[in-house]
Subunit: 552 residues, 2 copies
């Protein structure tokens, strides 16, 4: 801090920005130098910490980030993407500089981000820069989506007013017209009181809609049978007696359709109705029994019709609800059947018993993702089954690195546990190097079925190009410079298992679960193994594809 001519304090624009980020809870900025994987790390970090910041280089760096940031945009993850740009005079003269298109048009890259972020700030003018920063960061938090900041190199040290930093950004939830809100609540409550077989269905946008607490209180207060969609896994407290797990229609580990197909009310929170999340639209409740609560829109059906901020509505709903008028339905669901003999199913169930509060569980796309539905989660375990629509392979190992960093910062004793596919591991394996370099702690269970099993189920089991190259996966850590056993206090452990006989002694060893260092388990599974009840949905999709390629 310094003092300018009229006696007021100034700070550099960079300090202003980073102070604002710190006020929002950001403690680390991921840099995309040199690879694109750190952007996924930053995504993982954001999912745990609420908001993250990423710094990339003009052109080559930011374009590598596009896929990952687009995924965050699509799935409502808040991120601040700062791009280090050429100096302003380079823009003025249209310089032919590195990482540009060579035609003097230097804002082409920036213009693309209008389609993949919810707000953009071009910090070219010292008079407006801090206002732009404040507006953009506000949009990031309130919309829970990525934003984009262009920082020309000669703006970094420009002096700006320090005084606005004394006032935190205005981020409180937005309020509704009281009269409309009361009318809507009356209608909703009447539906609830009149119902005989209601259930609660929670989807993944509840986190970005910031109603996780309200949804859990609603489920707990009403005692209604509560399910999640795949994308919503981990939102509802797993220890609630009326929470029954993931609703994957007839394709889940548990089949809830005997109850849901005859229900007369579905309260649908934060829906994100993609083809993947909906199991090709097979597990969606009828419109006429559904009341949906979106971030800004509420009503009968899937999309809602009335513009209201959901957080305010839910808080008042919880205040007003008269529990004596609720139907009694707690025991309406059939008991779980855990006798499934298929390998990946058994694996997921057995692993679940080792999860602890504050753990973060991360499931890669493809087979680990549907497998993750079989987890039985204790209270306060976060499950990041990230993707219901973007589904970018290679995302989750770097994301786990970001989560591990967030866990260290939060220091709650929570562990980072990744279930990774062999195919996706090969996409972004070098991010293990970052884990080692920063001495982070993480579990990596590699679900090794030697191929893109998910894709084979979809496109045909005999497609050679869907084979994964045969790596010696457990060598990766040493290759990337990890210390050997006995060299210092940060050491890696590796395990190669193909039977329960191999794996059980490890799982039963309390030292294994101490959460220290990277622990990598190569779990060799059958070539075509995946969650038992998920096979039919993929086979069905594959058959439809072959009959009508237009469906993909």
């Amino acid at each position: 801090m310094s003092t300018n001519l009229d006696g007021r304090g100034t700070v550099s624009l960079a300090t202003y920005l980073f102070t604002r980020l710190r006020q929002l809870g950001v403690r680390a900025v991921h840099m995309s130098y040199p690879s694109y994987n750190p952007i996924y790390a930053f995504n993982g970090h954001a999912r745990v910490k609420g908001i993250s910041a990423l710094f990339t280089q003009y052109g080559v760096g930011e374009l590598n980030a596009l896929n990952a940031v687009a995924g965050a945009y699509v799935e409502y993850s808040p991120m601040v993407h700062i791009v280090g740009c050429p100096a302003r005079k380079t823009y003025r003269v249209g310089g032919v500089v590195q990482h540009s298109l060579g035609d003097g048009k230097l804002r082409v890259h920036a213009n693309i981000w209008k389609h993949y972020t919810v707000a953009q700030a071009a910090l070219f003018n010292p008079m407006t820069a801090i206002e732009l920063i404040d507006q953009t960061l506000q949009a990031c938090v309130q919309e829970s989506r990525p934003v984009y900041l262009e920082m020309p190199s000669d703006m970094v040290t420009v002096a700006v007013q320090e005084e606005p930093l004394a006032t935190p950004l205005h981020l409180s939830p937005l309020t509704n017209d009281q009269e409309i809100e009361d009318e809507v609540l009356e209608t909703v409550l009447n539906h609830i009181y009149a119902s005989k077989q209601p259930y609660v269905l929670v989807d993944g946008l509840a986190a970005s809609d910031q109603i996780v607490d309200e949804v859990n209180r609603f489920a707990s207060t009403t005692g209604f049978p509560t399910l999640s969609y795949t994308f919503g896994g981990g939102i509802v407290d797993g220890s609630l007696p009326n929470y029954h797990g993931i609703d994957a229609g007839k394709f889940g580990t548990l089949d809830f359709t005997p109850y849901t197909s005859t229900a007369d009310l579905c309260l649908l929170f934060s829906p994100f109705l993609t083809n993947v999340n909906m199991q090709s639209y097979t597990n969606i409740p009828p419109k006429c029994i559904t009341i949906s609560f979106g971030r800004k829109v509420i009503g009968v059906g899937y999309a809602g019709t009335l513009s209201l901020y959901v957080k305010s509505v839910l808080r008042k709903l919880l205040d007003k609800i008269d529990t004596s008028r609720l139907p009694n339905v707690q025991k309406a669901l059939s008991p779980p059947d855990y006798s499934a003999p298929i390998y990946q199913d058994t694996f997921n169930l057995r692993l679940s018993s080792h999860f602890r509060p504050k753990d973060v569980i991360i499931c890669a796309n493809a087979t680990p993702l549907p497998g993750g539905r079989g987890f039985v989660l204790p209270l306060d375990v976060t499950l990041i089954i990230n993707s219901s629509i973007w589904l970018s392979i290679g995302h989750m190992l770097p994301a786990a690195q970001g989560v591990a960093l967030a866990q260290r910062e939060l220091n709650t004793g929570g562990r980072t546990i990744l279930f990774e596919g062999d195919g996706s591991f090969q996409v972004s394996a070098q991010e293990l190097s970052t884990v080692i370099k920063h001495k982070l702690d993480a579990y990596i269970f590699l679900i090794n079925n030697s191929r893109y099993t998910y894709e084979r189920m979809l496109h045909g089991e005999d497609q050679e190009y869907k084979d994964v190259a045969r790596w010696n996966y457990l060598m990766t850590l040493e290759m990337m410079g990890a210390p050997r056993k006995g060299e210092g206090d940060y050491t890696v452990d590796t395990y190669d298992v193909s039977t329960w006989g191999d794996l059980m002694p490890t799982l039963e060893d309390s030292k294994f679960w101490d959460g220290k260092g990277p622990k990598m388990v190569n779990v060799r599974m059958d070539l075509m193994d995946m969650a038992k009840r998920f096979k039919p949905v993929l086979k069905m999709q594959g058959d439809l594809l072959r009959a009508d390629p237009g469906l993909e």
Copy 2:
């Protein structure tokens, strides 16, 4: 092929497209499944084969390709980028499908490509699809830049006319107004005949301008001292007695400024005058002595003023030139000084003697790139110092994979020789897995200085974040499943060297140069080593940066 109702032959749209690609010389289509690295491979392939084709998946795949294709666009490399899209009806109904933005707007991704490709074809209409394909491929070849094709999944098998395939695409060079061309030629020839100290300066766009043959004939016919810019390395036949190598001003292995600074004519072919290529604009000839020949524009100065197709102009220039009227300047340059003791310089010079005709030499960005200026290339060796402006780290290992595949297809005995940095290797190491999977042959010299030396020179030697994680690089091949020595006829060789005593026996072993299998040499160099004469240019840039950050 089948026959339709009016008796004419039809083929599927996919067959039509792939037949056209085959007619253009494409023999392999790279798929971006699952990673972004194959796009760089495809770039390498294109540089050797002239044109390549890439297939990616809608959304996640194509956005990962953006950085690499943007680099090809900027640096005039012809590529056909085909994106496998959802079916047309998904677009009509605005479906919320995987890899989309979830808002029903399915063409957002496609619209971005207008900025990074020279032509785009949305193959949604069977009536116009083949015409669009033909136009787009023609643009790709004639402009020597990437094009973009959207292929909805239900268009793949649509039947189209086969008959147009009988006529190859019209790709012959475009011709000029004869009168204007003759006038210009007279002026150019008068300047040449009147000059006393002329030289020829060749830049990298000569390849995409398709005038490599004409430029070489011009250099050979006139005998004028001939130099290349960094980006133009490998264009001029290294065995020409009047070709003297790369002009890096005062910062090259050889300093040509005693001659060039007093020259009275510079014939500049295919200029691409970026800040990097021009050594921060220090090695550019004065405008008043320069006649530049761009693809479509010719004239005095750097950019030219007259719209003429250069290939036609050069062919007529070679016909008309009267060699008896040329100044005799063959011996005007000072002899080379090869006594530089610095390691990377010595290394490059010694390695050069092992290059053979048809070899392709690939230099990664950062230290190998300026180091590559020191190579002395025999006839018919291609040097891919790719980047003069895009400079995306991690590009060259996958590019080498693409080159190795092209070498196998061409079957000339030429080898693929990569000089890779340790930092860039970590970005895209998994592409070695593709080399192994397809049993390709390649040399990988890893210039291992434990850090981003280039960046340290630029930003300060003490910047910890510029350190590269310490990998055991030579384990990579085994980790990725390469067979060990003695297991079958495809085996890898690895070498760990830090002195000439380690390296010389290997270089002198003819078996080492047999070109079989992957051979990886970990060359441990001094932390801050790089081409001797390149150090000052980076130091200068770094000093300027610290004094005025606006210059980056």
